[in-house]
């Protein structure tokens, strides 16, 4: 069981590359949720990507080069909050393996211990209480495989949704099934990936929810992309952005 900092005053924020390019509103929402709890958020401006795309594709040297650059940017002893179970999993669980032969491995292990996925941090370190301001809505939740199996934060994410009193959470029948994203898997094995995301969107449709909430933008891009392609009227949203809008009645980018 991971230990959480008590009364954290300052945190680093690692926004992730997908959030940066495609879902910056989700990134901002995460920052604002932390700030609203009185936490000073530091966003090192030179950050880019955790290195996972290269790591999973068979290019560990390239992954190491990019990862090392990130590690250098988060040098103070603050917790590092990441709005993605997959990138957080990479930084917490895979960096120690990626750098196992590096002379600075002890330092890197300490870095990895400071990594937290956003919802686990909101729940355990900040004990966040959410006041729902929004109209009634039915949503469903998709967990990324790495949030589920590497970070083990799925219940934290769902507990946040359950705090919202006007939100009905209908769970997927096959919540543990991968959506078929898998980074480059989606383009290296497009037909298998498509079969997987098709099953996922069918499961989502069956819930009767009007919105899909997830904590990972890779899955979000995959599932929303497939739903848009099929002209399904269900929209997808990152958990942080959804929560921010529910409790503040305004978009995170306002």
């Amino acid at each position: 069981m991971h230990t959480y900092p008590e009364n954290p005053q300052k945190v680093y924020y690692f926004g992730t590359c997908l959030v940066d390019m495609f879902y910056p509103g989700a990134g901002m929402a995460g920052i604002k949720l932390l700030q609203q709890k009185g936490v000073k958020v530091i966003f090192p401006s030179q950050q880019t990507c955790c290195g996972q795309p290269a790591y999973n594709s068979g290019f560990p040297d390239e992954a190491r080069t990019v990862a090392r650059k990130q590690i250098e940017l988060f040098s103070e002893d603050y917790p590092i909050v990441v709005p993605s179970g997959s990138c957080a999993g990479m930084m917490r669980h895979h960096y120690p393996k990626l750098f196992e032969n590096d002379p600075r491995i002890d330092q890197i292990k300490k870095f990895s211990e400071r990594i937290f996925e956003l919802s686990e941090f909101l729940v355990h370190a900040l004990n966040i209480q959410l006041e729902d301001q929004g109209p009634p809505i039915k949503v469903t939740w998709h967990s990324s495989c790495h949030a589920l199996r590497e970070m083990g934060v799925t219940e934290d994410s769902k507990s946040l949704i359950r705090q919202l009193k006007n939100v009905e959470l209908v769970e997927l029948q096959r919540e543990h099934d991968c959506c078929g994203f898998g980074g480059t898997f989606a383009v290296k094995q497009p037909a298998i990936s498509a079969a997987m995301v098709k099953d996922k969107t069918e499961d989502i449709r069956k819930t009767g929810a009007t919105r899909l909430i997830t904590g990972d933008c890779g899955c979000l891009m995959n599932i929303s992309g497939a739903m848009q392609y099929d002209k399904t009227s269900i929209s997808g949203q990152h958990l942080a952005e959804f929560i921010w809008e529910r409790i503040n009645d305004e978009p995170s980018t306002a």
């Binding site: 959030v19 390019m21 901002m28 920052i31 480059t184 290296k188 094995q189 990936s193």
Partner: protein
């Protein structure tokens, strides 16, 4: 006869995805297996402890593999079991044939053995005028239909009852058409009983071989394994060299892990512990027992400490049942008799990357396999290793065919990716350009694949970096 062709994975996948009946059969059967496993391992803390034990048992056994194999040979020999070593598949096949010939035997009954599938033994024996009959019900069905197993544990799982009815009716002389399961079972039993009586030699696999006592342990549910190993006068057991464990006391937890993971049972109907041929004064059992220990690339895998973990596999098949890819394409699409996650790491290492390296691309790295593996094989880590070696020209690489995929375009792409992601200003400028181009980007390469089934991803007009600056978030 085999239905395996040289691996054209893309074609195999396309064919499998189109076969609605196949996918339906696989999915419903895998759901059942997953549920049964979940029920038998409902105590997660206890299961985790057991898996840790399973992992350490295999770590221990493999850490002294040469010594344990020698001890196994010595013990077996003392017990009257004849031990043979086969480095390659042709050698192993030859050994079986020689044993058959030395008894002028022409009929072989077989219990379930994945090693024999690996050897394509049936086809080899048939060519040499010997009838080899599968007696495990699933194997019997697919043999009638000239197929290879679609799953390590449940080889005919891709067929439903109606399809099996037809296979029986078409292939067993005088078998009436019936969709009644009891009647189908009776047809198989009647056919097989007759063959058991006639057979000269029986063949089986080995689940665990105990070095300490020279015991061959074999689990099964149909009793056909017991028949194959006791009725004919000669018994041949086949094992991969990784199947050895050190002590008899290693067996109970390993059996619990294997059986629980494979079929969701506490214990199989039959647990066979074979330690010698028939002794003087005993009324049954074979007069001769042979053990053939096959290498076929295993010692090369063994030599590399990370790759060695591949040899922990106890062939329970649960990684297949839990794999989202296996669930969508079934077993045959993988092109080798070990499909699913274990196949993705085993086949490229045994057959070489040029032949089977493509299998490592068929994973979303969802980690479902690693989560359930009874001996904790880090399958995703090994998939990454295979992917890495596919491109690696590093002479320290150990997988045969390493670097086969190495090409300047892919290398350049990752070099550019590295450059951009270590140059924040260029990264920011690049994102701005992409955002401006947005939907006008040419649908080529990866984007072409992506948009075959999904809408084009839309870049945000402003990146998070820009929003953060606008909102006055501290940057150090």
């Amino acid at each position: 006869m085999t239905n395996l062709q040289p691996l054209d994975f893309e074609k195999n996948v396309a064919r499998a995805l189109k076969d609605k009946q196949l996918i339906k059969n696989i999915k419903s059967a895998m759901d059942t297996l997953v549920l049964k496993r979940k029920n038998i391992f409902s105590n997660t803390a206890e299961t985790e402890q057991l898996r840790v034990l399973g992992n350490s048992t295999k770590t221990n056994a493999l850490s002294k593999l040469p010594e344990l194999l020698e001890r196994l040979e010595k013990k077996c020999t003392q017990n009257g079991i004849k031990v043979h070593w086969a480095e390659t598949i042709p050698e192993a096949n030859q050994l079986v044939l020689d044993i058959m010939k030395s008894h002028q035997a022409t009929r072989l009954v077989k219990g379930k053995s994945m090693v024999s599938e690996e050897m394509e033994l049936n086809a080899y024996l048939q060519k040499n005028g010997i009838e080899a009959l599968e007696t495990d019900l699933g194997e019997f069905i697919i043999q009638l239909n000239h197929e290879t197993p679609a799953h390590i544990i449940v080889p005919a799982i891709h067929k439903n009852k109606d399809q099996i009815s037809k296979i029986f009716h078409d292939n067993i002389p005088d078998a009436p058409y019936t969709e009644n399961v009891d009647e189908l079972n009776a047809i198989a039993r009647k056919t097989l009983r007759h063959k058991f009586k006639q057979a000269d030699v029986g063949l089986s696999g080995v689940n665990f071989a105990v070095a300490e006592t020279g015991t061959l342990c074999l689990v099964e549910n149909e009793g056909n394994g017991r028949m194959c190993t006791t009725v004919p006068g000669v018994h041949i057991a086949l094992m991969g060299l990784e199947k050895v464990v050190e002590k008899l006391e290693d067996l109970p937890p390993m059996l619990r892990l294997l059986i629980g993971s494979a079929t969701g049972q506490l214990i199989t109907t039959y647990v066979n512990m074979i330690t010698s041929p028939r002794k003087e004064g005993e009324k049954d059992g074979p007069k001769e027992v042979h053990l053939i220990i096959l290498d076929n690339g295993r010692s090369k895998i063994f030599a590399d400490p990370q790759r060695r973990k591949t040899l922990y596999c106890i062939r329970c098949g649960t990684c297949l049942s839990h794999c989202p890819v296996y669930n969508r394409i079934g077993g045959h699409a993988y092109g080798y008799i070990y499909p699913g996650p274990i196949g993705k790491i085993l086949n490229p290492q045994v057959e070489g990357l040029e032949a089977a390296g493509v299998l490592a691309t068929a994973s979303s790295l969802c980690n479902a396999c690693e989560e359930v593996c009874p001996v904790k094989i880090p399958i995703p880590e090994l998939i990454r290793r295979i992917r890495n070696e596919s491109y690696s020209k590093d002479p320290a690489s150990t997988v045969e065919g390493h670097g086969y995929k190495s090409n300047w375009i892919e290398s350049l792409v990752w070099k550019i990716w590295t450059f951009i992601n270590t140059s924040p200003r260029i990264n920011a400028a690049g994102i701005k350009v992409l955002a401006a181009l947005g939907l006008k980007l040419p649908k080529a390469g990866p984007l072409k694949q992506w948009t075959r089934y999904r809408s084009t991803p839309e870049f945000a007009p402003q990146s998070l970096h820009e929003l953060v600056k606008q909102n006055g978030v501290h940057n150090e």
